[in-house]
Structure formats: C-alpha cells, structure tokens
C-alpha cells in the first residue's frame, strides 16, 4: 500500500497494549503542511473543538491503556506541555519514540520494541489522522477471542477501487486472505482503517529498517492465517487533508447529534440552521446570524452580526466580522475575516491570517500571518 492508501500516508500512530501505544509523525508532506498552513503539529489541531490526540488518548485510557508511545521523527516541544497535562488527567504514561531516519510504517514499532514487547499483552497501533468512534475495548475483546496474532479495523467504503481492499478466507468472516491494492474488479468493500491490535510476537516479524506494515508485515501475517479484520461501526475518516478534515468534522458532528450529545448547540437556538453546530461556551455570536449545518466554533471566537457560517471550522481566537459568508473553510487560530468577505471551496487560513473586507477567497490556502487584500478567484496557495 503506497501513498494513496489512507493510512500509510500520514502517521501519527499510537500503539498501545492494555499498557502501551505508539504514534509517529514523519511524513514530509505532513510536516510541510504543519509548518505552512496550520502552525501547530497536527495531533494538536482541534477536531470538533478537541485536539486530535486527545480524542485518541481519551478513548485509549477508557479502554484501559496505561502506556502510550508517540512515534515521531522529531521532538515537537510544543506538544510536551499538553502531553504532561494529559498524562496527569488520564493517568497514563506518554513516551516519545524518535526516529533518526524514516522507518516507514512498521519500523517505528520495532524501534519501540522495548516498551511494546515488555510482556505478552497485545498493543494497539493507530494512525494519528484517523478519526472515528474508537472501539478499543470491543477490538481487544474480539482479538482475544480469536487468539491469533493481529486484528485490523476495517471500514466499509463506497468506492473500494481507490483503496487497498481486504479479502477474507473463503467461508470465514474475519480471517484475512490477502489485500488487493486498488482493485479494478469488485473484490470487497472493506478497507484497512489504520487501527490495529497486535500481539508482541509481530515485532519479531519486523526488521529495524524502513519497512511498510501494509506491504510487508501484514502480508506475512496473512500468509500464516494469523490476521483478522474487525468491522468498524459508525463513521471513519482520515482527516490528513483539509478537505477530509472538513468532511470528517461533518461525520463527527453528525455522530454527536445521533448520540444526543450535550456538547452541541441546541438545534432550536434561533441562529442554528440545520443542526450539527458545536460552539465553545467562550465564543461570542452576534445578532442575526445563520449558523449551520456542520459548524465548529472554537474557544474565544468572535462572530459578528449577520454572519452566515456553514460546513466550516473556526479555530480558537479567530474572528468573523459582520455579514461575512463562510463555507467549507478552516479558519486558523487568531485569524480575522473581514466584513462581507466570502470564503468557500476548501479554503484554509493559517495562524493569524487577515482577510480584508469584501474579499472573496475560493479554495485559497493562506499561509500564516498573511493579509489578503485582493480576491483569490481560483484555488491557490498564498505564500
């Protein structure tokens, strides 16, 4: 599985036993993106007003995980303060495992062998960009029940031809026979969702060199009939790309609605339109706004009068001035959108971007600290 498979692409991975986890960050494109449009390391980006990594740590802790390893290729100092807080809050131990050279998707597991293999308990592995209702407890129970070496979570997709598809053994519901990369003919519609539970014995199959878990490790386990799939209930999205980040937010907010979450702004609020609206209590909303569906508004955000928001994410400290119209856009921290501005078509504003009054932005990726004074008519990156 190469570039296009949804999980080999971006790697914040955690692996965990009931006592450990791993999470690397070493795709150069991801670094580029982190340093360009959004300044925070991606695990710290708020997804549904909660940092990506917090969604994951929370779910892992709930499933009884006590050790978490973040597999990274550099040490993001900015992360440490948050992680210290999370260690305390969830009573977990978080360790960085730093690659000095890129080790692919399997190598980092070997690098963390000391922690992951310290006893016989299995460990979870997850890609940092994957968002879903993490079913860790059920996954661990299922894994224990079949007793084989590994279980990967699979998710149903509409267009399997774009992914690597899982093919099961004949007459077996979960045991995986093989993977077919981008099948031309229909062979199945379940794909690797980028979340696994593996026995420590798997570590013996991995060499400490750049190596791919999807292309080398899993086929080898499959050949021994030791790999199973576990169907994911509910939504799943790899949110590594801004477009998918927005789609994933819609799925997440819909799942909150379905659960009747109290986090959501009640749909009968006058300005809420179409539901799925998540607003931090510290945000201020002006008069005569129409907000929704699928809007996330972060802490300390200020929304002016007569603003129209839909399918967008306003990160903390951002400001949308009166009468602006924002759709399919990620508004970065402390950015400002001018009066009567119109943003749409997967526009992404970095940290501290200013969009002038009456400006139109169509699919613009605006790097941090830029001030935009002329229309961005066609999708482009504004350096």
């Amino acid at each position: 599985m190469k570039e296009d498979s949804p999980h080999s692409r971006r790697w914040l991975r955690h692996s965990s036993t009931p006592s450990r986890t791993l999470s690397p960050v070493h795709d150069p494109r991801m670094r580029a993106r982190r340093y360009s449009t959004l300044t925070l390391p991606k695990p710290l980006v708020e997804f549904g007003n909660k940092r990506m990594i917090l969604h994951q740590i929370e779910a892992l802790a709930e499933a009884g995980v006590t050790d978490i390893v973040l597999a990274v290729n550099y040490r993001p100092e900015v992360m440490e303060k948050y992680l210290a807080e999370y260690e305390e809050r969830f009573n977990v131990k978080i360790t960085f495992s730093i690659e000095t050279e890129p080790l692919g998707t399997a190598g980092p597991l070997k690098l963390a062998e000391e922690i992951l293999g310290k006893d016989d308990a299995p460990f979870f592995v997850l890609n940092s960009d994957v968002i879903c209702d993490y079913p860790f407890a059920d996954l661990a129970a299922f894994h224990k029940a079949h007793g084989d070496e590994g279980t990967i979570i699979v998710t149903k997709v509409e267009e399997p031809s774009k992914y690597g598809v899982v093919v099961h053994k004949p007459n077996h519901a979960s045991r995986i026979d093989r993977f077919v990369e981008k099948p031309v003919e229909f062979v199945g519609n379940r794909i690797n969702a980028g979340i696994y539970i593996l026995n420590p014995s798997v570590l013996k199959r991995i060499d400490l060199r750049p190596t791919s878990i999807e292309q080398e490790t899993f086929p080898a386990i499959c050949a021994d009939g030791q790999l199973h799939s576990f169907d994911l209930e509910g939504f799943w999205m790899d949110v590594g790309q801004p477009k998918d980040f927005l789609s994933g937010t819609c799925l997440y907010l819909s799942s909150l609605t379905k659960k009747g979450s109290k986090l959501l702004t009640p749909p009968n609020t006058p300005y809420v339109h179409g539901g799925n609206v998540l607003i931090d209590p510290s945000a201020k909303i002006g008069k005569n706004c129409r907000i929704g569906p699928n809007v996330t508004i972060g802490p300390d955000v200020i929304v002016g009068d007569g603003v129209r928001l839909q399918r967008c994410v306003l990160l903390s400290g951002s400001k949308v001035k009166d009468h602006a119209w924002v759709k399919s856009t990620i508004v970065g921290w402390n950015s400002t959108i001018g009066k009567w501005a119109r943003l749409e078509n997967v526009s992404v504003l970095g940290d501290d971007v200013t969009i002038g009054d009456e400006i139109y932005v169509n699919g613009g990726s605006i790097l941090p600290h830029k001030s935009i004074k002329v229309n961005v008519d066609v999708p482009s990156i504004i350096m």
Binding site: H323, W325, K339, Y360
Partner: protein, 441 residues
Amino acid sequence: MSLQIPNRSKANGSHAATKAVILVGGPSRGTRFRPLSLDLPKPLFEVAGHPIVWHCLTAIAKVPHIQEVCMIGYYDESVFRDFIKDASNEFPQIKIVYLREYQALGTAGGLYHFRDAILKGRPERFFVLNADVCCSFPLNDMLKLFEDRDAEAVILGTRVSEDAASNFGCIVSDAHTRRVLHYVEKPESHISNLINCGVYLFATECIFPSIRSAIKKRTERPRLVSYPSSENLESSFFQDDDDEEKKNEVLRLEQDILSDLADSKQFFVYETKDFWRQIKTAGSAVPANALYLQKAWQTGSKELAKPSSNILPPVFIHPTAHVDPSAKLGPNVSIGPRAVVGAGVRIKESIVLEDAEIKHDACVLYSIIGWSSRVGAWARVEGTPTPVNSHTTSIIKNGIKVQSITILGKECGVGDEVRVQNCVCLPFKELKRDVANEVIM
C-alpha cells in the same frame, strides 16, 4: 439651401445666438449597451440619478443664452416625450425639440438633414454633443477658445494612454496655437494620444458647407474607409455599420468631415484635463456613474446622500428608495426609485435600478442590478475593478475576455447565498447556483 451669415459680435459673445445639438442615436445603435438597452433607450439610462442625456443637458444649460437644444436621433418620437417634458420644467429657459431621422443618416448626415431646424433663429454657432459621452462638458471653455481664436470649429480633446489612443479619433494639434493640424479616426499606427471626445462647437457658416462638399466629394469618388483596429473590429466596422455604410446618405463627422476641417478651416482643439469616458457597453455605465457622482460631490450637490459611517460618499439614493440604516453604501453607488436595500447589505461601485430589491447581508460590488431584479440574502454579485484610466470594460480572465462589470438585466433573480461574478445576465433569469465569467442567456 440658404445660409444666413449673422453678425458676429466677438467682444463678449453674449449677443451671438448659440444652439446645441445632442446626437442620441437610435435603437439599432446601443446594441453594445445590452442587456440594459433592451428595456430602455441608452440615452435615458440613469447614472448618478439622472438619464445620461440629462447630464449633457445640464452642461448645455450652463452656457449663457442658449435657447434651444435639438436632440437628433432615430428613436420613435414617443421615446423622449416624457423626458423632454420633465427637462423643459427643469430648464424652462431652454426649448428642447426632438428631431427624428427616419433612417440612420450618420452624425454629419443628421445635422445636414435637419439644417433648417438648426438654422432657425439664425444661430451663429452650435454645439454638438454625442449623448454616449460622459464628461464634464467644459462648453464655456470651448466657447471662449472659439471666440478668442475666431474659430470655425472647436473640438474637445483629451489625452489617453498611447496604446488606447488608436481606438479613438486622434488629433494632431499645434502645441501653441491649439490649431488642429491633422485628424484621423482610429488610426492603425500611433499618431497622437490627444483624442476626440465627441463634443464640438461649429460655426454654422463653416459646418454646413463642409458637409455639403463632403457629400459632393462622396458622389465623385469612393470614400476611403479607415481601417478599424483589431480591438474595435467588431464594434466599429461590422456590427452596426455595414448596411449603413452602403447608403450614400450616411455621413459621419468623424470619418467624413473632421479631416477636411483640419486641412482647410480655423479648427481648434480644447484639451480637457477633466474626466472623460465613452458610454458604449452596459458596463461603462458604472464608471460613468462614478464620475458623475464624484462631480456632483465636488460641486456640493444637494441630491447626494449625507455621508455617515454607513454612507461613503458619493452615494445617490432616490427619495422613494428604502435603504436600511445598517446597510453600508458607497463610494460611487446610485440607488434608483423604489429600490429596497435590506439590513447589513454592502453596495460599492454599483447601480441599483428602479424597484430592485437587495436582501439582508448581500454584497454587491462593481455591478448593475437591473429593474425589479432581486438579490437574495448573503448573495454576492460582483464585478472586477478596472484601472482608473482604463477605457475598456472587458478584462481577460483565464485567457477569456469577460465583462469586468456584472450586469443583471430586468427582473433577474439571484438566490440566497448565490455568487455571481463577472457575468452579464439577460432579463428574467433566475440564478440559483454560483456562476462566474458567463453571459447568461
């Protein structure tokens, strides 16, 4: 033909009878002003709160002792009836008559055809104004030059950029005397960047004989057709003129008369440093609106809306229009009769015509909103600003020529939250999806 030669009293000119002629064209002209000319003759289209031709008339009214204005065109008489009635009330000192050509005779042909009407009252000289010109019409300055130089003809000229000049009639003049040495319409090569503004002052004793001799020459030898530049190929050659050119009676001042005047007559140019634009395409109404509004603002016109935090001058709001106090308008905005502008609306560099409605939080920039058109809430109707000095209303986007100004024709509808950019929309269209760089038929 009897040409009267009145006594010329050059001392102060106050006794010399002066008339004015406004050339208003006809329905087969003004096609480039579509879709706005589909519903109204171009001269009656309102910019800065008044019909285009009204702006000509006010300039004429400032010339002392002008008693009569002849509008010459080939629209039906009924077209200007109401306008003339209203204007006669506003300018009681001036008699306004409409002289209808039953076929297009050309600018010079029209003058000649109605020479008896023009010569009635024995004017010594008369102004000729093209109605599709937007400028400050410094007629008194032209008159002064006319008298100072004992001229037979004065043309209003303005400087444009060198590359724009060849789209216009070019004037070569003597820098000191201001005498016109050479005139050529839309030259292929660069001749001069002093161009013809389409405003003239002619001595009656000079212009009619000149036209007559041009007619005579015409019948003796075929006329040299000046070659249009590529920029104007369509407009200046094929589109309007082909059929007319074949008719012998069609005579145009620019092509047929001015060059000969430069050769043989006391022909001078008054160069204006003030604004000047042609009103050819519908989009050109937006810069014309802006220029007339600015002029009104500079002269302290009482008609304009009072500046405030939400009114960036100059803005004209018709007394019968309703504009929500939270709407922000200007600069260079005209709101027509009975138009409704909702809360939190933004309008800039635009014209909103009669009975149009702009719903709350919508944004209208560099656009014309046609009669009874509706713009939905949070909609965005947008054109593209063109450089201040630009004499064209089209721009190149993605290699395609599009109109810089967005125009909605009569009774168009733009849905809530819909975006319309650089489009020309024919009447009665409903726009429910975002659209850019198109002509919507």
